[in-house]
Protein backbone atom coordinates (compact mmCIF):
# COMPACT_ATOMS: atom_id res chain seq x y z
CA UNK A 1 0.00 0.00 0.00
CA UNK A 2 2.81 2.39 0.92
CA UNK A 3 4.43 1.91 -2.46
CA UNK A 4 1.32 3.27 -4.20
CA UNK A 5 1.11 6.28 -1.88
CA UNK A 6 4.80 7.15 -1.65
CA UNK A 7 6.15 5.60 -4.84
CA UNK A 8 8.34 7.83 -6.99
CA UNK A 9 6.83 9.25 -10.11
CA UNK A 10 8.16 7.94 -13.42
CA UNK A 11 7.11 11.08 -15.27
CA UNK A 12 7.68 14.04 -12.96
CA UNK A 13 10.58 16.33 -13.80
CA UNK A 14 13.68 15.67 -11.75
CA UNK A 15 15.89 18.63 -10.91
CA UNK A 16 19.63 18.90 -10.31
CA UNK A 17 19.26 22.41 -8.88
CA UNK A 18 18.60 21.93 -5.17
CA UNK A 19 17.62 25.59 -4.81
CA UNK A 20 14.95 25.54 -7.51
CA UNK A 21 11.92 24.36 -5.56
CA UNK A 22 10.68 24.42 -2.01
CA UNK A 23 7.53 23.34 -0.18
CA UNK A 24 5.15 26.30 -0.11
CA UNK A 25 3.44 27.61 3.00
CA UNK A 26 3.67 26.87 6.67
CA UNK A 27 1.93 23.88 8.22
CA UNK A 28 -0.65 24.52 10.91
CA UNK A 29 0.79 21.78 13.12
CA UNK A 30 3.14 24.31 14.69
CA UNK A 31 5.24 22.58 17.37
CA UNK A 32 5.71 19.48 15.25
CA UNK A 33 7.72 20.76 12.31
CA UNK A 34 11.23 20.76 10.98
CA UNK A 35 12.79 23.17 8.54
CA UNK A 36 14.97 22.07 5.63
CA UNK A 37 16.99 24.65 3.73
CA UNK A 38 19.51 24.75 0.90
CA UNK A 39 21.91 27.56 0.05
CA UNK A 40 23.46 27.30 -3.39
CA UNK A 41 26.70 28.65 -4.75
CA UNK A 42 24.84 31.04 -7.07
CA UNK A 43 23.27 32.77 -4.08
CA UNK A 44 19.86 31.15 -4.37
CA UNK A 45 18.36 29.92 -1.14
CA UNK A 46 15.25 27.89 -0.36
CA UNK A 47 13.67 26.85 2.89
CA UNK A 48 10.78 24.46 3.46
CA UNK A 49 8.81 23.51 6.54
CA UNK A 50 7.80 19.88 6.85
CA UNK A 51 5.50 18.23 9.35
CA UNK A 52 7.31 15.55 11.36
CA UNK A 53 4.35 13.19 11.41
CA UNK A 54 4.53 12.96 7.61
CA UNK A 55 8.14 11.73 7.72
CA UNK A 56 8.44 7.99 8.26
CA UNK A 57 12.21 7.74 8.81
CA UNK A 58 12.84 10.39 11.43
CA UNK A 59 16.63 10.43 11.17
CA UNK A 60 18.29 13.42 9.50
CA UNK A 61 19.26 11.18 6.56
CA UNK A 62 15.66 9.94 6.35
CA UNK A 63 14.39 13.53 6.41
CA UNK A 64 16.76 14.60 3.62
CA UNK A 65 15.81 11.54 1.54
CA UNK A 66 12.12 12.34 2.00
CA UNK A 67 12.72 15.98 1.13
CA UNK A 68 14.57 14.87 -2.03
CA UNK A 69 11.62 12.63 -2.94
CA UNK A 70 9.12 15.46 -2.45
CA UNK A 71 11.12 18.02 -4.42
CA UNK A 72 12.30 15.55 -7.03
CA UNK A 73 16.09 15.32 -6.87
CA UNK A 74 18.57 12.54 -6.28
CA UNK A 75 19.71 12.71 -2.61
CA UNK A 76 23.23 11.76 -3.71
CA UNK A 77 23.48 15.27 -5.18
CA UNK A 78 23.85 16.68 -1.66
CA UNK A 79 27.27 15.03 -1.40
CA UNK A 80 28.16 15.20 -5.06
CA UNK A 81 27.48 18.94 -5.27
CA UNK A 82 29.54 19.54 -2.17
CA UNK A 83 26.85 20.63 0.29
CA UNK A 84 27.72 20.80 3.95
CA UNK A 85 24.75 20.31 6.23
CA UNK A 86 24.04 21.76 9.64
CA UNK A 87 21.71 20.50 12.33
CA UNK A 88 20.71 23.88 13.73
CA UNK A 89 24.20 25.39 14.17
CA UNK A 90 26.08 22.12 14.46
CA UNK A 91 27.94 21.07 11.35
CA UNK A 92 27.47 17.41 10.36
CA UNK A 93 30.46 15.51 9.05
CA UNK A 94 30.08 11.85 9.94
CA UNK A 95 27.50 9.23 9.00
CA UNK A 96 26.56 9.08 12.66
CA UNK A 97 25.53 12.74 12.60
CA UNK A 98 23.01 11.88 9.89
CA UNK A 99 21.65 8.95 11.89
CA UNK A 100 20.51 11.27 14.66
CA UNK A 101 16.78 11.62 15.17
CA UNK A 102 15.48 14.98 14.00
CA UNK A 103 14.38 17.19 16.85
CA UNK A 104 11.08 19.03 16.39
CA UNK A 105 11.45 22.71 15.45
CA UNK A 106 15.08 22.20 14.38
CA UNK A 107 16.51 23.46 11.10
CA UNK A 108 18.55 21.31 8.78
CA UNK A 109 20.45 23.64 6.49
CA UNK A 110 22.84 22.64 3.72
CA UNK A 111 25.29 25.12 2.20
CA UNK A 112 27.09 24.51 -1.06
CA UNK A 113 30.90 24.84 -1.04
CA UNK A 114 30.89 25.93 2.59
CA UNK A 115 34.22 27.23 3.87
CA UNK A 116 34.84 27.01 7.57
CA UNK A 117 36.58 30.30 8.29
CA UNK A 118 37.64 29.17 11.76
Amino acid sequence: MNSIIMGKSMHRDVTTDLCKYHVLGDPKDEPNYVKVGFVCENGNEVISTLVMSAIEDKTIKGLLNEYARIIGFDPKLIDENNFTCFNDDKVMYSEDDYKEIVRATSTIRCIQNYKDED
Binding site: I5, M6, L24, P27, V51, I70
Partner: protein, 470 residues
Amino acid sequence: MKIRLLKITKIIIFFLILIIALLVRKRKYAEIPIPGQSVDEYSYAWVGLSLIESGMPIGISGIDGYKNRLPRYINVDRFFQTVSSGDPLIINYPWMDHPPLLGLITGGFAFLNGTRVFEDATSYVIRKPIIVISTLSVALLMIFCWINFGFLSSVIGGLIYSTTPLVVLSSRMIQAENGIIPCFLACMICISLYMRSKKDVWLILAGFSAGVASLFKLTGFTCHLFVLLALLNNSKRNGKLFLKDFIFFLAISLPISFLFVIYGSVYGINNFIQIFFSNYNRFYGIGPNSIIELIRNQRLTQHKYLPEISIISGWLVFFGYVFNKEKNRYVNLVILGNFSYLIIYIFFGSQPYGWYSFPFWPLLSILLSVFISDGLSKNKNIIAVFFSLILIFGTNISRLIGIFDFQPYANIWRFSISVLFFILVSKLNNKKYINFASKLLLVLILMAIIYTNISYLNMINIDYWWQNIS
Protein backbone atom coordinates in the same frame (compact mmCIF):
# COMPACT_ATOMS: atom_id res chain seq x y z
CA MET B 1 -35.92 13.36 -49.82
CA LYS B 2 -36.18 16.91 -48.49
CA ILE B 3 -37.12 15.64 -45.04
CA ARG B 4 -34.23 13.19 -45.06
CA LEU B 5 -31.80 15.93 -46.04
CA LEU B 6 -33.16 18.10 -43.25
CA LYS B 7 -32.68 15.26 -40.76
CA ILE B 8 -29.10 14.70 -41.89
CA THR B 9 -28.39 18.45 -41.59
CA LYS B 10 -29.78 18.46 -38.06
CA ILE B 11 -27.65 15.47 -37.09
CA ILE B 12 -24.55 17.16 -38.56
CA ILE B 13 -25.31 20.33 -36.53
CA PHE B 14 -25.79 18.16 -33.43
CA PHE B 15 -22.35 16.60 -33.86
CA LEU B 16 -20.74 19.93 -34.74
CA ILE B 17 -21.91 21.33 -31.40
CA LEU B 18 -20.52 18.27 -29.65
CA ILE B 19 -17.17 18.81 -31.37
CA ILE B 20 -17.18 22.46 -30.19
CA ALA B 21 -18.03 21.24 -26.67
CA LEU B 22 -15.19 18.73 -26.70
CA LEU B 23 -12.63 21.18 -28.11
CA VAL B 24 -13.33 23.98 -25.63
CA ARG B 25 -13.25 21.52 -22.75
CA LYS B 26 -10.00 19.98 -23.98
CA ARG B 27 -8.07 23.23 -24.43
CA LYS B 28 -5.68 23.74 -21.47
CA TYR B 29 -7.70 21.18 -19.51
CA ALA B 30 -4.70 20.14 -17.43
CA GLU B 31 -3.84 23.73 -16.46
CA ILE B 32 -7.19 25.44 -15.81
CA PRO B 33 -8.71 25.09 -13.21
CA ILE B 34 -5.30 25.02 -11.50
CA PRO B 35 -4.62 21.43 -10.41
CA GLY B 36 -4.67 21.01 -6.67
CA GLN B 37 -7.07 23.84 -5.89
CA SER B 38 -9.45 20.99 -5.21
CA VAL B 39 -7.50 17.99 -3.92
CA ASP B 40 -10.71 15.98 -4.30
CA GLU B 41 -9.76 15.59 -7.94
CA TYR B 42 -6.67 13.59 -6.99
CA SER B 43 -8.48 11.82 -4.20
CA TYR B 44 -11.12 10.36 -6.52
CA ALA B 45 -8.47 9.06 -8.91
CA TRP B 46 -6.33 7.69 -6.06
CA VAL B 47 -9.31 5.83 -4.64
CA GLY B 48 -9.89 4.10 -7.96
CA LEU B 49 -6.20 3.47 -8.57
CA SER B 50 -5.57 1.98 -5.13
CA LEU B 51 -8.77 -0.06 -5.31
CA ILE B 52 -7.61 -1.60 -8.59
CA GLU B 53 -4.03 -2.12 -7.48
CA SER B 54 -4.36 -3.20 -3.88
CA GLY B 55 -8.05 -3.76 -3.22
CA MET B 56 -8.01 -0.98 -0.62
CA PRO B 57 -9.61 2.41 -1.44
CA ILE B 58 -7.15 5.10 -0.34
CA GLY B 59 -7.99 8.79 -0.64
CA ILE B 60 -8.16 12.18 1.03
CA SER B 61 -11.06 12.94 3.32
CA GLY B 62 -11.95 16.07 5.17
CA ILE B 63 -14.25 14.27 7.59
CA ASP B 64 -13.74 12.67 10.98
CA GLY B 65 -14.56 9.06 11.62
CA TYR B 66 -11.54 7.47 9.98
CA LYS B 67 -9.31 5.27 12.13
CA ASN B 68 -6.50 5.18 9.57
CA ARG B 69 -5.01 8.60 9.00
CA LEU B 70 -1.64 9.20 7.34
CA PRO B 71 -0.20 12.69 6.75
CA ARG B 72 1.87 12.43 3.55
CA TYR B 73 3.61 14.66 1.03
CA ILE B 74 2.48 13.50 -2.42
CA ASN B 75 3.82 16.06 -4.84
CA VAL B 76 1.58 15.29 -7.81
CA ASP B 77 1.56 18.09 -10.42
CA ARG B 78 4.12 19.82 -8.15
CA PHE B 79 1.21 20.59 -5.85
CA PHE B 80 3.57 21.60 -3.03
CA GLN B 81 5.21 24.20 -5.27
CA THR B 82 2.00 25.76 -6.61
CA VAL B 83 -1.12 25.84 -4.45
CA SER B 84 -0.26 24.05 -1.21
CA SER B 85 -0.93 25.74 2.12
CA GLY B 86 2.04 23.91 3.61
CA ASP B 87 0.18 21.08 5.30
CA PRO B 88 0.74 17.53 4.13
CA LEU B 89 -2.20 15.71 2.55
CA ILE B 90 -4.15 13.58 4.98
CA ILE B 91 -4.60 10.12 3.52
CA ASN B 92 -7.42 7.94 4.83
CA TYR B 93 -8.26 4.30 4.20
CA PRO B 94 -10.53 2.50 3.57
CA TRP B 95 -11.92 5.67 1.96
CA MET B 96 -15.71 5.67 2.18
CA ASP B 97 -16.68 9.34 1.75
CA HIS B 98 -18.53 8.55 -1.46
CA PRO B 99 -19.24 5.53 -3.65
CA PRO B 100 -16.24 4.59 -5.79
CA LEU B 101 -17.62 4.85 -9.34
CA LEU B 102 -15.95 8.15 -10.28
CA GLY B 103 -12.69 6.89 -8.75
CA LEU B 104 -12.90 3.70 -10.76
CA ILE B 105 -13.44 5.67 -13.97
CA THR B 106 -10.63 8.23 -13.46
CA GLY B 107 -8.26 5.95 -11.53
CA GLY B 108 -9.03 3.08 -13.89
CA PHE B 109 -8.21 5.29 -16.87
CA ALA B 110 -4.95 6.32 -15.20
CA PHE B 111 -4.13 2.65 -14.47
CA LEU B 112 -4.73 1.71 -18.12
CA ASN B 113 -2.34 4.51 -19.06
CA GLY B 114 0.42 3.03 -16.94
CA THR B 115 -0.04 4.98 -13.70
CA ARG B 116 0.97 2.89 -10.71
CA VAL B 117 1.76 5.45 -8.00
CA PHE B 118 -0.26 8.42 -6.72
CA GLU B 119 2.32 10.93 -7.87
CA ASP B 120 1.77 9.87 -11.48
CA ALA B 121 -2.00 10.48 -11.35
CA THR B 122 -1.55 13.95 -12.82
CA SER B 123 -4.38 16.15 -13.97
CA TYR B 124 -3.16 15.65 -17.55
CA VAL B 125 -4.13 11.98 -17.25
CA ILE B 126 -7.01 11.88 -14.80
CA ARG B 127 -9.04 14.77 -16.24
CA LYS B 128 -9.36 13.12 -19.67
CA PRO B 129 -12.30 10.81 -18.86
CA ILE B 130 -14.23 13.62 -17.19
CA ILE B 131 -13.99 15.71 -20.36
CA VAL B 132 -15.58 12.86 -22.30
CA ILE B 133 -18.30 12.46 -19.64
CA SER B 134 -18.99 16.22 -19.73
CA THR B 135 -19.28 16.17 -23.52
CA LEU B 136 -21.73 13.30 -23.14
CA SER B 137 -23.73 15.60 -20.84
CA VAL B 138 -23.94 18.18 -23.63
CA ALA B 139 -25.24 15.47 -25.97
CA LEU B 140 -27.87 14.36 -23.45
CA LEU B 141 -28.95 17.94 -22.79
CA MET B 142 -29.43 18.43 -26.52
CA ILE B 143 -31.33 15.17 -26.87
CA PHE B 144 -33.64 16.14 -24.00
CA CYS B 145 -34.34 19.52 -25.62
CA TRP B 146 -34.76 18.00 -29.08
CA ILE B 147 -37.29 15.41 -27.90
CA ASN B 148 -39.32 17.76 -25.76
CA PHE B 149 -38.95 21.26 -27.20
CA GLY B 150 -37.70 20.87 -30.75
CA PHE B 151 -34.45 21.19 -32.66
CA LEU B 152 -34.06 24.97 -32.26
CA SER B 153 -34.12 24.69 -28.49
CA SER B 154 -31.67 21.80 -28.69
CA VAL B 155 -29.18 23.88 -30.71
CA ILE B 156 -29.50 26.91 -28.43
CA GLY B 157 -29.25 24.78 -25.28
CA GLY B 158 -26.31 22.84 -26.69
CA LEU B 159 -24.44 26.00 -27.69
CA ILE B 160 -25.06 27.74 -24.36
CA TYR B 161 -24.16 24.70 -22.24
CA SER B 162 -21.15 23.77 -24.33
CA THR B 163 -19.54 27.23 -24.34
CA THR B 164 -20.56 29.03 -21.12
CA PRO B 165 -17.12 29.61 -19.50
CA LEU B 166 -18.12 28.62 -15.96
CA VAL B 167 -19.70 25.40 -17.24
CA VAL B 168 -16.70 24.58 -19.43
CA LEU B 169 -14.22 25.09 -16.60
CA SER B 170 -16.37 23.09 -14.19
CA SER B 171 -16.64 20.31 -16.78
CA ARG B 172 -12.90 19.68 -16.52
CA MET B 173 -13.00 18.98 -12.80
CA ILE B 174 -13.08 15.49 -11.36
CA GLN B 175 -16.09 15.93 -9.16
CA ALA B 176 -18.87 13.41 -8.64
CA GLU B 177 -21.42 16.00 -9.76
CA ASN B 178 -19.96 15.76 -13.27
CA GLY B 179 -20.87 12.08 -13.17
CA ILE B 180 -24.32 12.71 -11.73
CA ILE B 181 -25.24 15.26 -14.46
CA PRO B 182 -25.36 12.81 -17.43
CA CYS B 183 -27.26 10.27 -15.30
CA PHE B 184 -29.75 12.96 -14.24
CA LEU B 185 -30.23 14.10 -17.84
CA ALA B 186 -30.59 10.48 -19.02
CA CYS B 187 -33.16 9.92 -16.28
CA MET B 188 -35.07 13.03 -17.39
CA ILE B 189 -35.02 11.88 -21.02
CA CYS B 190 -36.35 8.45 -20.03
CA ILE B 191 -39.12 9.90 -17.85
CA SER B 192 -40.20 12.31 -20.59
CA LEU B 193 -40.31 9.40 -23.05
CA TYR B 194 -42.23 7.30 -20.53
CA MET B 195 -44.76 10.10 -20.16
CA ARG B 196 -45.26 10.04 -23.93
CA SER B 197 -45.31 6.34 -24.65
CA LYS B 198 -46.05 4.63 -21.30
CA LYS B 199 -43.54 1.97 -22.28
CA ASP B 200 -41.93 0.23 -19.28
CA VAL B 201 -38.55 0.17 -20.95
CA TRP B 202 -38.18 3.91 -20.28
CA LEU B 203 -38.95 3.41 -16.62
CA ILE B 204 -36.36 0.62 -16.48
CA LEU B 205 -33.75 2.86 -18.10
CA ALA B 206 -34.69 5.74 -15.77
CA GLY B 207 -34.19 3.35 -12.82
CA PHE B 208 -30.83 2.29 -14.18
CA SER B 209 -29.67 5.92 -14.66
CA ALA B 210 -30.83 6.87 -11.18
CA GLY B 211 -29.05 3.86 -9.66
CA VAL B 212 -25.80 4.69 -11.45
CA ALA B 213 -26.09 8.38 -10.40
CA SER B 214 -26.14 7.32 -6.74
CA LEU B 215 -22.94 5.31 -7.29
CA PHE B 216 -21.14 8.57 -8.05
CA LYS B 217 -22.30 10.25 -4.86
CA LEU B 218 -25.31 9.96 -2.57
CA THR B 219 -26.62 13.28 -3.89
CA GLY B 220 -27.35 11.22 -7.02
CA PHE B 221 -30.56 10.37 -5.15
CA THR B 222 -31.81 13.58 -6.72
CA CYS B 223 -32.80 11.30 -9.64
CA HIS B 224 -34.99 9.18 -7.36
CA LEU B 225 -36.57 12.32 -5.95
CA PHE B 226 -37.10 13.71 -9.43
CA VAL B 227 -38.83 10.53 -10.61
CA LEU B 228 -41.02 10.55 -7.50
CA LEU B 229 -42.11 14.15 -8.19
CA ALA B 230 -42.49 13.62 -11.95
CA LEU B 231 -44.62 10.50 -11.54
CA LEU B 232 -46.73 12.14 -8.83
CA ASN B 233 -47.26 15.11 -11.11
CA ASN B 234 -48.06 12.92 -14.07
CA SER B 235 -50.41 10.48 -12.33
CA LYS B 236 -53.16 13.12 -11.99
CA ARG B 237 -54.13 11.97 -8.53
CA ASN B 238 -54.30 8.33 -9.57
CA GLY B 239 -52.54 6.96 -6.53
CA LYS B 240 -52.51 3.34 -7.69
CA LEU B 241 -50.93 4.19 -11.02
CA PHE B 242 -48.31 6.32 -9.30
CA LEU B 243 -47.46 3.62 -6.77
CA LYS B 244 -47.20 0.92 -9.42
CA ASP B 245 -44.84 3.01 -11.54
CA PHE B 246 -42.72 4.25 -8.67
CA ILE B 247 -42.28 0.83 -7.06
CA PHE B 248 -41.32 -0.57 -10.46
CA PHE B 249 -38.75 2.24 -10.82
CA LEU B 250 -37.36 1.63 -7.31
CA ALA B 251 -37.11 -2.10 -8.00
CA ILE B 252 -34.54 -1.23 -10.66
CA SER B 253 -32.76 1.75 -9.08
CA LEU B 254 -32.44 0.78 -5.42
CA PRO B 255 -30.55 -2.52 -5.90
CA ILE B 256 -27.97 -0.57 -7.92
CA SER B 257 -27.75 2.17 -5.27
CA PHE B 258 -27.48 -0.52 -2.58
CA LEU B 259 -24.22 -1.73 -4.13
CA PHE B 260 -22.49 1.07 -2.17
CA VAL B 261 -23.66 -0.43 1.12
CA ILE B 262 -22.42 -3.87 0.07
CA TYR B 263 -19.11 -2.35 -1.01
CA GLY B 264 -18.84 -0.43 2.27
CA SER B 265 -19.59 -3.49 4.39
CA VAL B 266 -16.75 -5.41 2.73
CA TYR B 267 -14.38 -3.04 4.57
CA GLY B 268 -16.28 -3.33 7.85
CA ILE B 269 -19.87 -2.28 8.33
CA ASN B 270 -19.10 -0.42 11.58
CA ASN B 271 -16.41 1.61 9.89
CA PHE B 272 -18.80 2.34 7.03
CA ILE B 273 -21.59 3.47 9.35
CA GLN B 274 -19.19 5.63 11.39
CA ILE B 275 -17.95 7.44 8.28
CA PHE B 276 -21.48 7.69 6.91
CA PHE B 277 -22.67 9.49 10.05
CA SER B 278 -19.55 11.67 10.22
CA ASN B 279 -20.38 12.73 6.68
CA TYR B 280 -23.96 13.42 7.73
CA ASN B 281 -22.87 15.54 10.71
CA ARG B 282 -20.54 17.79 8.74
CA PHE B 283 -20.39 21.52 9.32
CA TYR B 284 -23.36 23.15 7.51
CA GLY B 285 -21.20 25.69 5.72
CA ILE B 286 -23.63 26.67 2.96
CA GLY B 287 -25.61 28.52 5.62
CA PRO B 288 -29.14 29.90 5.52
CA ASN B 289 -28.26 32.27 2.64
CA SER B 290 -27.39 29.35 0.38
CA ILE B 291 -30.20 29.98 -2.12
CA ILE B 292 -29.30 33.60 -2.87
CA GLU B 293 -25.62 32.58 -3.03
CA LEU B 294 -26.57 29.93 -5.59
CA ILE B 295 -28.26 32.55 -7.73
CA ARG B 296 -25.83 35.44 -7.53
CA ASN B 297 -22.41 33.89 -6.87
CA GLN B 298 -21.37 30.97 -8.98
CA ARG B 299 -18.21 29.24 -7.81
CA LEU B 300 -15.82 26.64 -9.12
CA THR B 301 -14.22 25.68 -5.82
CA GLN B 302 -14.86 27.04 -2.34
CA HIS B 303 -13.00 30.28 -2.97
CA LYS B 304 -12.92 30.69 -6.76
CA TYR B 305 -15.88 32.69 -7.99
CA LEU B 306 -16.85 33.16 -11.62
CA PRO B 307 -20.34 34.68 -11.67
CA GLU B 308 -22.00 33.64 -14.90
CA ILE B 309 -24.88 35.67 -16.30
CA SER B 310 -26.21 32.76 -18.39
CA ILE B 311 -26.76 30.89 -15.14
CA ILE B 312 -28.26 33.91 -13.39
CA SER B 313 -30.57 34.43 -16.41
CA GLY B 314 -31.44 30.74 -16.16
CA TRP B 315 -32.52 31.29 -12.56
CA LEU B 316 -34.65 34.29 -13.58
CA VAL B 317 -36.30 32.20 -16.31
CA PHE B 318 -36.80 29.40 -13.78
CA PHE B 319 -38.71 31.76 -11.47
CA GLY B 320 -40.70 33.04 -14.45
CA TYR B 321 -41.75 29.52 -15.38
CA VAL B 322 -42.57 28.64 -11.76
CA PHE B 323 -45.00 31.60 -11.65
CA ASN B 324 -46.43 30.82 -15.10
CA LYS B 325 -49.45 28.56 -14.69
CA GLU B 326 -49.79 27.56 -18.33
CA LYS B 327 -46.46 25.90 -18.80
CA ASN B 328 -45.56 23.03 -21.09
CA ARG B 329 -45.55 19.66 -19.23
CA TYR B 330 -41.92 19.10 -20.22
CA VAL B 331 -40.91 22.54 -18.92
CA ASN B 332 -42.61 21.39 -15.75
CA LEU B 333 -40.36 18.34 -15.78
CA VAL B 334 -37.23 20.54 -15.84
CA ILE B 335 -38.66 22.64 -13.00
CA LEU B 336 -39.25 19.50 -10.97
CA GLY B 337 -35.69 18.43 -11.73
CA ASN B 338 -34.38 21.75 -10.50
CA PHE B 339 -36.47 21.57 -7.33
CA SER B 340 -35.35 17.96 -6.73
CA TYR B 341 -31.73 19.01 -6.77
CA LEU B 342 -32.47 22.14 -4.73
CA ILE B 343 -33.99 19.92 -2.02
CA ILE B 344 -30.95 17.63 -2.09
CA TYR B 345 -28.59 20.64 -2.12
CA ILE B 346 -30.21 22.20 0.92
CA PHE B 347 -30.54 18.90 2.77
CA PHE B 348 -26.97 17.67 2.20
CA GLY B 349 -25.46 21.08 2.96
CA SER B 350 -21.78 20.95 3.96
CA GLN B 351 -19.25 23.56 2.76
CA PRO B 352 -20.22 25.85 -0.15
CA TYR B 353 -17.98 24.05 -2.63
CA GLY B 354 -18.66 25.21 -6.17
CA TRP B 355 -19.19 21.70 -7.49
CA TYR B 356 -22.28 21.15 -5.36
CA SER B 357 -24.10 23.56 -7.65
CA PHE B 358 -22.92 22.03 -10.96
CA PRO B 359 -26.12 19.94 -11.48
CA PHE B 360 -28.28 23.08 -11.51
CA TRP B 361 -26.51 24.43 -14.55
CA PRO B 362 -27.69 22.02 -17.30
CA LEU B 363 -31.27 22.40 -16.04
CA LEU B 364 -31.04 26.19 -16.05
CA SER B 365 -29.45 26.10 -19.51
CA ILE B 366 -32.39 24.01 -20.75
CA LEU B 367 -34.89 26.51 -19.35
CA LEU B 368 -32.98 29.42 -20.85
CA SER B 369 -32.82 27.71 -24.24
CA VAL B 370 -36.57 26.98 -24.22
CA PHE B 371 -37.22 30.59 -23.28
CA ILE B 372 -35.02 31.92 -26.11
CA SER B 373 -36.30 29.47 -28.72
CA ASP B 374 -39.92 30.30 -27.81
CA GLY B 375 -39.06 33.96 -28.29
CA LEU B 376 -37.51 33.26 -31.67
CA SER B 377 -40.10 30.88 -33.06
CA LYS B 378 -43.30 31.98 -31.31
CA ASN B 379 -42.55 35.60 -30.47
CA LYS B 380 -43.16 34.73 -26.81
CA ASN B 381 -41.82 37.16 -24.18
CA ILE B 382 -39.68 38.82 -26.83
CA ILE B 383 -38.75 41.81 -24.65
CA ALA B 384 -37.62 39.55 -21.83
CA VAL B 385 -35.66 37.37 -24.28
CA PHE B 386 -33.83 40.43 -25.61
CA PHE B 387 -33.28 41.62 -22.08
CA SER B 388 -31.61 38.40 -20.95
CA LEU B 389 -29.50 38.08 -24.10
CA ILE B 390 -28.26 41.65 -23.79
CA LEU B 391 -27.48 41.03 -20.13
CA ILE B 392 -25.31 38.07 -21.11
CA PHE B 393 -23.76 39.77 -24.15
CA GLY B 394 -22.93 42.97 -22.24
CA THR B 395 -21.26 41.02 -19.46
CA ASN B 396 -19.30 38.95 -21.97
CA ILE B 397 -18.00 42.13 -23.66
CA SER B 398 -16.97 43.63 -20.34
CA ARG B 399 -15.02 40.46 -19.56
CA LEU B 400 -13.11 40.73 -22.81
CA ILE B 401 -12.37 44.45 -22.89
CA GLY B 402 -12.07 46.83 -19.96
CA ILE B 403 -14.21 49.92 -19.54
CA PHE B 404 -11.58 52.19 -21.15
CA ASP B 405 -11.15 50.01 -24.24
CA PHE B 406 -14.94 49.96 -24.56
CA GLN B 407 -15.24 53.76 -24.94
CA PRO B 408 -14.84 53.86 -28.77
CA TYR B 409 -17.88 51.56 -28.98
CA ALA B 410 -19.93 53.29 -26.30
CA ASN B 411 -22.04 55.30 -28.75
CA ILE B 412 -22.89 52.27 -30.85
CA TRP B 413 -23.87 50.41 -27.70
CA ARG B 414 -26.03 53.11 -26.12
CA PHE B 415 -27.90 54.05 -29.30
CA SER B 416 -28.53 50.53 -30.54
CA ILE B 417 -29.69 49.16 -27.20
CA SER B 418 -31.89 52.20 -26.45
CA VAL B 419 -33.50 52.10 -29.91
CA LEU B 420 -33.98 48.36 -29.66
CA PHE B 421 -35.82 48.59 -26.36
CA PHE B 422 -37.86 51.55 -27.64
CA ILE B 423 -39.00 49.50 -30.65
CA LEU B 424 -39.84 46.50 -28.49
CA VAL B 425 -41.69 48.41 -25.78
CA SER B 426 -43.64 50.57 -28.24
CA LYS B 427 -44.56 47.35 -30.08
CA LEU B 428 -43.28 48.66 -33.38
CA ASN B 429 -41.97 45.19 -33.94
CA ASN B 430 -45.53 44.01 -34.61
CA LYS B 431 -44.90 45.17 -38.14
CA LYS B 432 -43.75 42.26 -40.24
CA TYR B 433 -40.38 43.57 -41.45
CA ILE B 434 -39.39 44.94 -38.05
CA ASN B 435 -40.37 41.62 -36.52
CA PHE B 436 -38.10 39.81 -38.97
CA ALA B 437 -35.28 42.25 -38.31
CA SER B 438 -35.63 41.88 -34.55
CA LYS B 439 -35.47 38.10 -34.83
CA LEU B 440 -32.41 38.34 -37.02
CA LEU B 441 -30.87 40.60 -34.40
CA LEU B 442 -31.71 38.03 -31.71
CA VAL B 443 -29.86 35.34 -33.64
CA LEU B 444 -26.90 37.67 -34.14
CA ILE B 445 -26.72 38.49 -30.43
CA LEU B 446 -26.92 34.79 -29.62
CA MET B 447 -24.07 34.05 -32.01
CA ALA B 448 -22.08 36.94 -30.54
CA ILE B 449 -22.63 35.45 -27.07
CA ILE B 450 -21.24 32.10 -28.20
CA TYR B 451 -18.30 33.82 -29.89
CA THR B 452 -17.50 35.94 -26.82
CA ASN B 453 -17.85 32.87 -24.58
CA ILE B 454 -15.20 31.06 -26.60
CA SER B 455 -13.00 34.18 -26.82
CA TYR B 456 -13.11 34.53 -23.04
CA LEU B 457 -12.21 30.88 -22.58
CA ASN B 458 -9.25 31.34 -24.90
CA MET B 459 -8.15 34.29 -22.80
CA ILE B 460 -8.00 32.33 -19.55
CA ASN B 461 -4.49 31.14 -18.83
CA ILE B 462 -2.64 30.62 -15.55
CA ASP B 463 -1.76 34.32 -15.16
CA TYR B 464 -5.31 35.41 -15.89
CA TRP B 465 -6.61 32.83 -13.43
CA TRP B 466 -4.48 34.11 -10.56
CA GLN B 467 -5.03 37.78 -11.33
CA ASN B 468 -8.68 37.96 -12.36
CA ILE B 469 -10.61 35.01 -11.02
CA SER B 470 -10.97 35.52 -7.32
